[in-house]
């Protein structure tokens, strides 16, 4: 009997734990947004977060996009050749980068770079009692630490996605023109003519959602961290895992939503 019930009990416990965590994360998110909207505001912290999340992520976003765009052009050319459709490279690179790969890859890069950094920083602050110190100094940690980071991600990640989309398309363009014999002007014209406003809007909306997920997961796991170096390590690992999975899940949901509109 126990042998039969044990896996069911484990499944039940894990389900309850997962639902409880979902509830905690939801409350955390609502609290973060309420602190973004209510004064006092901390412009210095916001500026630093904009710099950290946005500006300093540009190199990794640019490199990821350019290599992905180049590889995408090669793959489409090679795959398209099987049914004489090599000419669609500009269109597929554009739509692939803007609708899907641009936002997802930028989101995952932000999860790797920013989520981990936020989680490690806040978790270390918690372990060293800096969060308690903030509270005793009449400063709400959600307002001082979480709100600026989430707002910065909400603002900068769509911009990064837009830049990533452009660089990715340029990567595909460079490979197509230099290696695959495409005409430069025709390639660009095909790309521009094919993209619709809704493609670009969906890309930027995804960027905003992924940015919020990345920053929230970093902040949540950091604030929820356990004691010592192990606690900081777990918080960092957990935040990146959660952010990556949630970004991919949100991408699926948002893609479905945009297709249905």
């Amino acid at each position: 009997m126990n042998l039969f019930l044990s896996p069911v009990a484990t499944l039940g416990r894990n389900t309850i734990a997962a639902l409880a965590m979902l509830g905690r994360v939801t409350l955390f998110m609502l609290s973060a947004f309420s602190h973004i909207l209510r004064p006092p505001f901390y412009p210095r912290e916001l500026f630093q977060a904009l710099l950290q999340v946005g500006w300093l992520s540009l190199p990794v976003v640019g490199l990821t996009a350019i290599f992905t765009g180049g590889a995408l052009a090669l793959q489409i050319y090679s795959g398209g050749a099987r049914f004489n459709a090599e000419a669609v490279v500009p269109q597929i690179v554009a739509i692939g980068m803007v609708r899907e790969l641009g936002p997802v890859l930028v989101g995952l890069m932000i999860a790797a770079r920013v989520t981990s950094s936020i989680a490690a920083e806040i978790a270390t602050m918690k372990v060293t009692e800096q969060i308690d110190a903030l509270t005793t100094l009449s400063t709400h940690p959600m307002k001082y630490l979480v709100a600026p980071r989430v707002l910065a991600a909400l603002v900068t990640v769509p911009i990064l996605v837009g830049i990533g989309d452009i660089i990715g398309i340029l990567g595909g363009y460079t490979v197509a023109v230099q290696n695959l014999g495409f005409n430069a002007a025709t390639y660009m014209q095909n790309t521009v003519n094919f993209l619709e406003a809704r493609d670009i809007i969906s890309s930027l909306v995804k960027g905003g959602v992924f940015g919020v997920i990345a920053a929230l997961m970093g902040c949540y796991y950091g604030m929820d961290s356990g004691r010592g170096a192990q606690g900081v390590g777990r918080a960092t690992k957990g935040s990146v895992q959660a952010a990556a999975v949630l970004i991919l899940a949100a991408n699926f949901v948002l893609t479905g939503v945009f297709f249905s509109i």
Binding site: Q48, T128, E129, Q130, D132, A133, T135, T136, L137, S138
Partner: protein
């Protein structure tokens, strides 16, 4: 006057506080002693609202600390944390002037910096330390910066959590002396947590011993050595033999 009445706090199965009753009269220095893990820091954090007690009442000047304007309540406190808890990303002077650069006590930046430098001088640090980052300072200097931060806004009540832990005896003596001087000159109410009996004798007007989640003994520091309480005697002498188990 700070009063704790029948305060309980448990973390899972671990009942840390089991009915703490304690009064700290205004303008006096209370030192709480007790073994590691007896809940001294938990009691302190309950007063500040950093931890919510499971039951019991904590009042400040007769008012429940969990009710009323939280910012106004916290503005009355300064706290020196065990590890300093300085903000790594801010230079020393901004750590000290943190409260003066934002919120209800906000001052112009130049004025806040002046006050920070004056407080740094008060704790024996020169102005050239003001622009350094906390990581560039020694442990003793970080403690002093923490102390300067605790007194920067001239609070009515100051908490000191293990102020001499990790410091050499000379630096411990300096910190103890500073705490005593500052508390006396500011007329502040002070609550200190420590294991260090030298600190107790240097800082305390009154002493309370926390053991088994309750206040085991409390009284003036002058009466501590003649208390007749076997737990307190064992703690003062640091003996392995006595009612407090050496291996916990």
């Amino acid at each position: 006057m700070i009063e704790l009445s029948d305060v309980h706090k448990a973390f899972g199965d671990n009942h840390v506080l089991r009915g703490v009753n304690l009064s700290i009269p205004k303008g006096t220095s209370m030192v709480i002693i007790g073994g590691s893990g007896t809940g001294k820091s938990v009691a302190l954090k309950c007063i500040l609202g950093l931890i919510r007690p499971d039951s019991g009442l904590i009042t400040l000047d007769g008012k429940d600390v969990t009710k009323g304007d939280r910012d106004a309540f916290l503005a009355r406190f300064g706290m020196l944390f065990q590890g300093g808890a300085l903000f790594d990303s801010l230079p020393v002077w901004q750590n000290v002037a943190f409260r003066l650069l934002r919120g209800s006590l906000k001052r112009p930046k130049d004025e806040a910096r002046e006050i920070a430098i004056e407080k740094l001088r008060r704790v024996g640090l020169t102005p050239d330390q003001a622009d350094k980052l906390p990581a560039e300072l020694s442990g003793g200097m970080q403690k002093r910066v923490g102390l300067a931060r605790a007194i920067a806004a001239e609070p009515e009540i100051i908490f000191f959590d293990e102020p001499t832990t990790g410091l050499d005896p000379i630096m411990s003596g300096v910190i103890n002396e500073l705490i005593r001087e500052i508390v006396v000159e500011m007329g502040a109410t002070a609550m200190t947590i420590t294991h260090d009996m030298t600190s107790v004798r240097a800082i305390a007007d009154n002493v309370a011993m926390l053991h088994g989640g309750k206040i085991r003994w409390t009284g003036p520091v002058a009466e501590m050595d003649a208390s007749g309480d076997p737990y307190l005697e064992q703690f003062i002498t640091g003996s392995a033999d006595g009612p407090i188990e050496a291996v916990r």
